[in-house]
């Protein structure tokens, strides 16, 4: 998959409560969640960003709760990819599981500026910063996780596994 978008920069320790405040968790509707994405951090963020834009953040992005609503809200708001110095572990799993591409890179997080235009080839693992005319190699994910992604996310993996087990039962 090739992703193209403009960079929005975020600081360290962006927690799931600012990504999607708990007061909106009485719904699981992605469209409704997207309306409030990052509301307590920057109430204009959803209005300012364009479909396909990319978040570049500091350390520990997505810390806090296990709410899958956080990556869902970001994806539904139009965020196409997140690059951070590091991710909190539950957020990392959730993003992979729902098919939101995320990559850890200290170098890219430091060198990208807000507004830079990026091109990401998620299959080849290459990121180009068009404004800075720089190319980076992205860390590849473990084979097991790549398999989940190639199946289309954990849901598809589970469907296939359930089918396999049902066949064995017969």
């Amino acid at each position: 998959m090739i992703i193209k978008g403009k960079v929005w920069k975020f600081k360290d320790n962006i927690d799931t409560d600012v990504i999607i405040p708990a007061r909106y968790l009485n719904t699981s509707d992605p469209k409704e969640l997207a309306l409030h994405c990052m509301e307590d951090y920057d109430s204009e963020f959803v209005k300012k960003m364009n479909q396909g834009d990319i978040i570049v953040a500091g350390r520990n992005f997505g810390c806090g709760s296990s709410r899958e609503h956080a990556p869902i809200a970001l994806k539904a708001a139009g965020v196409s990819c997140i690059i951070a110095k590091s991710f909190a572990r539950i957020f990392f799993r959730n993003a992979i599981n729902i098919g939101l591409p995320i990559f850890e890179s200290e170098e890219i997080a430091v060198q990208c500026s807000e507004g830079d235009f990026l091109e990401v080839d998620t299959v080849k693992g290459i990121l180009k910063n068009i404004n800075k005319d720089k190319t980076y190699k992205l860390n590849s994910l473990p084979a097991f996780i790549q398999n989940i992604i190639s199946l289309g996310g954990l849901k598809e993996y589970v469907k296939e596994e359930v089918r396999r087990r049902n066949r064995e039962d017969v």
Binding site: N13, D15, D17, V18, P21, A22, R23, L25, N26, T27, S28, E39, D40, Y41, R59, N60, C63, G64, S65, S66, R67, E68, H69, S86, A88, R89, I90, R93, N94, N97, I98, P142, F144, I145, I148, G153, L154, K155, Y157, V158, K159, E161, V162, R163, R165, N166
Partner: protein, 420 residues
Amino acid sequence: MGKTIVEKILSAHTDTDNLKIGDIIKARVDFAFANDITAPMAIKYFKESGAKQVFDKKRVGLIPDHFAPNKDIKSAEQCKLLKEFAQEYEIENYFEIGKMGVEHALLPEKGLVLPGDVVVGADSHTDTSGALGAFAIGVGSTDLAAVMALGEVWLKIPPTIKFVYSGKLNIWVSGKDLILYTISKIGVDGANYKVMEFSGGVIRSLSMDNRFTMCNMAIEAGAKTGIIEPDEITLEYLKGRAKRPFQIYKSDPDAHYEKIIKIDVSKIEPQVAFPHLPENAKPISEAKGIKIDQSIIGSCTNGRIEDLRIAAEILKGQQVHSEVRLIIIPATQEVYLQALREGLVDIFISSGAAVSTPTCGPCLGGYMGILAKGERAISTTNRNFVGRMGHPESEVYLASPAVAAASAIAGRIASPEEVK
């Protein structure tokens, strides 16, 4: 080379041999659960998976606790989904209002999560059960749906950091103060992807309630989980509770740790974590005098019977400050009933506190104590992020039940000595 308690538990739950740190395994799950925020999505994905039933009807828990008793129509609809799913799939551990509690306090109390278990919960504070010597991790809804369907979870073998606590605890210093202090030393991502194993003489002498508090907040340092080796105190707690046999694992003396961090507790005062990160803990002596509007005593972190006993000890014969709302929320019905029988509820109400039925409520800004713009709370909960308890311009200070009770009386952040 020896193994850590976590390596032993995971080895016993997978078919993969010779586990190494960083290996990805599929681990069999002993208990899986979700709440009214995370279960609705998990239920949807579970149904879409084509699974005919959950992996084990006795080993799935559904607990409406976050916005329950239902705070509004949307929350009511979410809670209804849990109940209907439990009926349809004959899930035994559904906890209706009147029997429920905050999930991480309820499940150990009911003996549903046990030493040596692999526990997977769709809530980040699932690590609480690590206090029993279980490997307990928080996940999102899709992962939980996968566990309900398959009875297993994929995970990476994590490295462990060992924390060794020694010395004599100062007066009013509790498990909450130890964990806030620890997080302040390593930071909110200081244990990201890793296990925090709490050990040493101080931990051995801590009660189960204090141990639960410590493991509960391992996630606030980014940890995959927190864990404490079971001992006589654990076994005593489990008497009459454990619903099935269990296995005790302990770390070998020559187990490999990524790091060993030694902490002398005799230097630690009661702690207060300033907004807006749990790592901003300072000694109470540096926090005194900050005016508060609200004090919350409760949650999966500090809503157990010992927490309420300490609060009652401080509130007895005293009055909550006229400009402060003190809201006390027993974490489970059993805790509530015990508090009632011991006369604690009488002390609370006589002092001018409000006592609520169990709920996560205000901890995550749900309801039952939301802060207005500019308001400030002291709270025994676990997070003080921007907007966590209400308006994005409100503030939460995290502390122990003793400090939260003392502050409610003083109307400002105060140590228990100041009001005794």
